[in-house]
Amino acid sequence: MKNLRFNALIHAPKRLHICAMLSASGELEFKLLREQLDVSDSVLSKHIKSLQEAGYVGVAKRRDFGHRRTWLSLTSAGRDAYTEHVKELREMVG
């Protein structure tokens, strides 16, 4: 057991999954992320809200091809926090 200063908000499995997916892409649609995570709208909304409140995820609602779509992306603070978190995990594993 080691002391590790890591990001508890990001470390939760679903939120870690969200950050990992968003870090590998520009913007992802809410619906696509929900299907990939296999969760309900409300569960994903809850996770996104907590990440958004921390300033890690940006949410943009736009009309695309006649449909209102919600796009999610990592903010630069979120990208830094996620990168640091992964770095801490790697350092711990050695």
Partner: protein, 172 residues
């Protein structure tokens, strides 16, 4: 929102393995279809070859335009399709590592195209300058440059479809 916590090495290892799996799944889900990768890489090879051998007296200049336009149209088509599927791929990666990765790719392709062109020009009988270019005697230069560009484009599009530098084995 950071917190000091205690986790075991095994838990950290497990989290990294999970990230590795997610990373690979994300790359797979965002990867363009193989037909797209094949056609794009072949067109990039033709573009490189055309750039190397184009002269006023031949029609390879047309090859440059046609293959260039075809590559741009294919990329726009893929961006449109990806957007319909729920992925917006920016032209410039948002992360710093992604921008560095893109800059290195650009530099690599620029060097290959430049060397391919220079070697071809320096090897022509009318412009031949003995010893002016180390690979002036390489008649296959445009072919080699085209193959290098084609294979590199195929590999990079397959492994890094979003242009983001993604560690594809996060557990290591």
């Amino acid at each position: 929102m950071t917190d000091e916590n205690q986790i075991t090495t095994a838990e950290a290892q497990s989290a990294l393995e999970s990230l590795n799996k997610i990373g690979n799944e994300t790359i797979s889900s965002l990867r363009p279809p193989l037909w797209f990768i094949t056609i794009t890489s072949l067109l990039c090879g033709i573009l490189t070859f055309s750039l190397a051998v184009a002269e006023h007296e031949n029609s390879w200049g047309l090859g440059v335009w046609l293959s260039g336009i075809a590559v741009v149209l294919l990329v726009l088509f893929w961006m449109y399709s990806a957007r319909l599927l729920g992925v917006r791929a920016p032209l410039l990666p948002p992360s710093g590592s992604g921008k560095v990765f893109l800059a290195l790719q650009t530099l690599f392709f620029a060097v290959v195209v430049f060397v391919g062109r220079e070697a071809t020009v320096a090897g022509r009988p009318e412009t031949r300058l003995e010893g002016a270019f180390p690979i002036a005697d390489l008649p296959l230069a445009p072919y080699i440059a085209a193959v290098i560009v084609s294979l590199s484009v195929a590999y990079l599009t397959y492994k890094y479809p979003t242009n983001e530098w993604v560690q594809q084995d996060a557990s290591k």
